[in-house]
Structures are given as structure tokens and as C-alpha cells.
Amino acid sequence: MSGPDDALERAREAAAAKRRRGGYSGLNEGADALDPTILGEKAPATLLSEWAVIEIEPALLYSTRRGGAPVTALKRLLMRLLRQYFVELEARQTRFNLGALAAISEIEQRMNRLEREAAAGSEPE
């Protein structure tokens, strides 16, 4: 009987048989394309530096309504009119982010140095 319980095994055998005949060649070349964009619990430091600089693309401003193109256009026009304000806002936020990031980096370096010194001091002579 061809049931669901052995379907995975049958599928594996069929895939293996086709691969032996040269099938499924080139498969997985584009697989898992999203993997590099999926982060774990903590973002890497290189990305944090990138994120610290705030620069919002106008393309991110849009309307979610059906037939919302005129609303999108209006929002983008308003953003252009308020550009002077937004540039100042972005600059101030970026200033703080970079300052905070530098401070964290300095603390991390000090902590590493202290840990190394503590480890060296505790070693038997």
C-alpha cells in the first residue's frame, strides 16, 4: 500500500534515483537565499555599525490602502518638504548611535583586557 507513512522514504529513493541519472543537477545553487539575512538572537557588531547610521530610503514610505498610489505620492511629497527637519533628526540620532557604539566598544576592549590580566594573574607561577 502506498501510504503517507512511507512517503518520505519513497520520495528520497525517487530523488536519489533521478540524481544517479543526472537529474536535479544544479539544484540548491540558489537555495536558502534568505539565510544570510536571518540573524540569531544577537546582531553581529559589523551590522550594528551599519545600522547606527540612520538614513531612511524614501521608497520605504508607502500606503497600505488599495489604490493607495496617490497617498504614497502625497506622503513622499511631504517628506521632501520636511527634508531639512528629517536630515537634522537623522544626524542627531546617528550622532548618538555612533557615540554609544564607540562607548560599548571601548567597554568591551577594557573588559577583554581586564579578563586577560585576571587570567594571567591567576596562573600558577
Partner: protein
């Protein structure tokens, strides 16, 4: 008079959390229970049902049902009210999926997961819609969690819109275009299926995209996979989704993180075989009624082929699907909802 209000972070026309709010409201109204449904953000298509949370007001003994799927200030403020509260945990997407694609939503999810213990503590009754979600609540410190599954209303699946165009086998994917749903793997598996098994196959992906940028990225990946006849349809009206299910030969879900996955039940309702990745709540909801892949795109392609061509297998999957539907039958779940609400009001 008994009054039960519901609150969600955001309400839209198609999403599962909003749909559950409406389903609970219909049940509660039928039981003579009054109340309103509120959302922090209300999309245009949901304004007929939801009020803005900033206008929320309640008498001191009204019950507040908090549907938790992300964090918001407005939702957190409800915890400070003296009212009895019932928490429904719908799961929160791990923010790692979202940081690169939607930073604002990622923040809501990151804070949401951090604040889950506070919401669990603040509720008189704590519920989750799947065992998987209940596990996350226990891990967050909840002492007792009721599993109250999704209230599945089969009636909304009756109206039929236009069937999708084309003649080849239809592989259907239902779910938002968001990173954890792994549409990239769907495109690769479908391309493999089309190349090796069924050149005339069609792929239809139903679901709104996270944002226009992510929709464009998915279109690029679909094109790069080499697959033909791929349609990213966006959000469709219920009758159009029903027509797609009625036409579909298989439902494919390769999601990596799922709190429940309502499309599984919808596929069972239409007798459509399911090929799935065994992630999150999927095995708990689908049980033995789905074909589970091991993640190899070639194996997924062969499973799709089996599900499309093996009539004996299809019949057995359909039978098992009906069994799962009985497990999630409306009256069973309605009883669980009434018990949870009753306990919270006691």
C-alpha cells in the same frame, strides 16, 4: 451584563489574529456577551470591525482578552488596568527573521518576546492556540496554560471566486510573505518539481508581503529559481482564496517558524494534500495528515509529485485530514473558549 473586550496590536482584513478576534466576537455575541474589539493599528480593510485602542474604555469588571502577537505601548498599558484579563498567545516571530527586512516590526517582536513574562503574569487566565505556543509561555514563566486552538469556522470557506488560470497541477502556498515562511525554499522546491516531474505545474502564493521591498525580493528570488508559472498574488479576498483551494492539487508550507498555521486546516477542509516542513506548531496541528519533508528540495519535489499523482495516497491523506478537522471542530473549540472566558470572569 457580561462584557468582554478584545485587544490586538494591529488589525487587518486577512491576518489570522484579526480573523480570530472576529470569530470569538461572533461566538461571544451569540452567547449574549457584549463588548468591542480594539487594535493599536487598524488597516483600512478592518475599520468595519475594530476600533482604535487609544479610544478603549471599560467598566472595572469587564474582561479584557489580550491577543498577543507583538508588543505595543497601547497593549502594555492594558496590563495596568484593574480589569480581569485573559491572555491569548498567538506567538511572536523571533526578531532575527526581521531585523534586516523590517526593523520596526523586529523591535516590536524583540520587545514582545522580552515582555511575554509580564503579560503572562498580568493575566488571570493564560491561553495559547497551540501546544507549541503553550511551551513558549511555560518557558516565559507561566504556571498554567490552557490550549485553546484556533476557532475554525468552515462556513467562510464556502463562497467561491474566480479559479486561478491555467491547467497544470496547482501548488498552493498560503501565508504572508515574511522571512520565516521561507518562500525562497518554496521557489527552489517548486522549480525542481517543475523541471523533474511536471513541466506544466503552477505555483500560486497567496498572502500580503511584509513590505514592498520584501515583495520585490521574493519576485527576484522566484525569477532566479528558474521556475515558470509562479504567481505572487498578494492578499486575496476569502472567496478567491477558497477558489484557489478548490483548484489546488497540493498545499505546500516550508515555514521555519509557525505558531499555528491555519492553512493546514483549510487544506484539510478542501481535501487538499499537504506537504510541509515539520517546524513549530505544524506537526502538532497536522499530525499524521501531512507529508513532511527533510528539507532537501529534491525530496520536497518528489513528495509534491507523490501527493499529486498517487490517488491511494491522496485518499488516505484526505481521510486523515478529516480526522484532524474533527479534532479542531468548531464546537470543541467553542467549548474551550467558553471555559477560558468563564474562568477569567469567575
Amino acid at each position: 451584563m457580561t462584557v468582554v473586550h478584545q485587544a490586538v496590536v494591529g488589525a487587518g482584513p486577512y491576518d489570522a489574529v484579526s480573523e480570530q478576534s472576529r470569530a470569538w466576537r461572533r461566538l461571544l455575541s451569540g452567547d449574549g456577551i457584549a463588548g468591542g474589539d480594539y487594535a493599536g493599528q487598524v488597516d483600512h480593510g478592518a475599520r468595519d470591525h475594530f476600533h482604535r485602542l487609544e479610544r478603549f474604555s471599560a467598566a472595572a469588571d469587564d474582561l479584557i482578552v489580550i491577543r498577543y502577537s507583538a508588543w505595543s505601548h497601547a497593549l502594555a498599558r492594558l496590563l495596568e488596568l484593574p480589569n480581569p484579563k485573559l491572555l491569548v498567545y498567538h506567538n511572536i516571530t523571533p526578531p532575527g527573521y526581521l531585523w534586516n527586512h523590517s526593523p520596526g516590526l523586529a523591535v516590536q517582536c524583540a520587545v514582545g518576546r522580552m515582555q511575554l513574562p509580564a503579560f503572562a503574569r498580568g493575566a488571570r487566565v493564560t491561553t495559547a492556540d497551540s501546544e507549541f505556543n503553550a511551551g513558549e509561555l511555560y518557558a516565559a514563566g507561566a504556571e498554567s496554560v490552557r490550549v485553546v486552538p484556533v476557532l475554525f469556522e468552515a462556513g467562510r470557506l464556502a463562497p467561491r471566486g474566480h479559479a486561478p488560470e491555467g491547467d497544470g497541477p496547482l501548488v498552493l502556498v498560503v501565508g504572508r510573505l515574511v522571512p520565516n515562511k521561507r518562500h525562497d525554499r518554496v521557489f527552489d522546491a517548486f522549480a525542481a518539481y517543475q523541471r523533474e516531474c511536471e513541466p506544466d505545474a503552477r505555483l500560486l502564493c497567496v498572502g500580503t508581503a511584509l513590505n514592498p521591498g520584501y515583495a520585490a525580493l521574493m519576485q527576484t528570488l522566484a525569477d532566479a529559481s528558474g521556475a515558470r508559472d509562479v504567481r505572487l498574488a498578494g492578499g486575496l479576498a476569502q472567496d478567491e482564496v477558497n477558489a484557489a483551494y478548490a483548484e489546488a492539487d497540493v498545499l505546500l508550507t516550508l515555514s521555519e517558524h509557525e505558531g499555528f498555521c491555519v492553512p493546514l486546516l483549510e487544506a484539510f477542509h478542501f481535501g487538499v494534500p499537504v506537504v510541509a516542513a515539520p517546524a513549530g506548531a505544524v506537526p502538532g496541528v497536522a499530525g499524521h495528515a501531512a507529508l513532511y519533508t527533510d528539507g532537501d528540495a529534491a525530496v520536497t519535489a518528489e513528495l509534491i509529485d507523490l501527493a499529486v499523482t498517487d490517488t491511494e495516497l491522496r485518499a488516505e491523506l484526505e481521510r486523515r485530514g478529516r480526522e484532524r478537522l474533527e479534532h479542531f471542530a468548531y464546537e470543541h473549540t467553542a467549548k474551550s473558549v467558553r471555559e477560558a472566558v468563564g474562568e477569567a470572569l469567575a
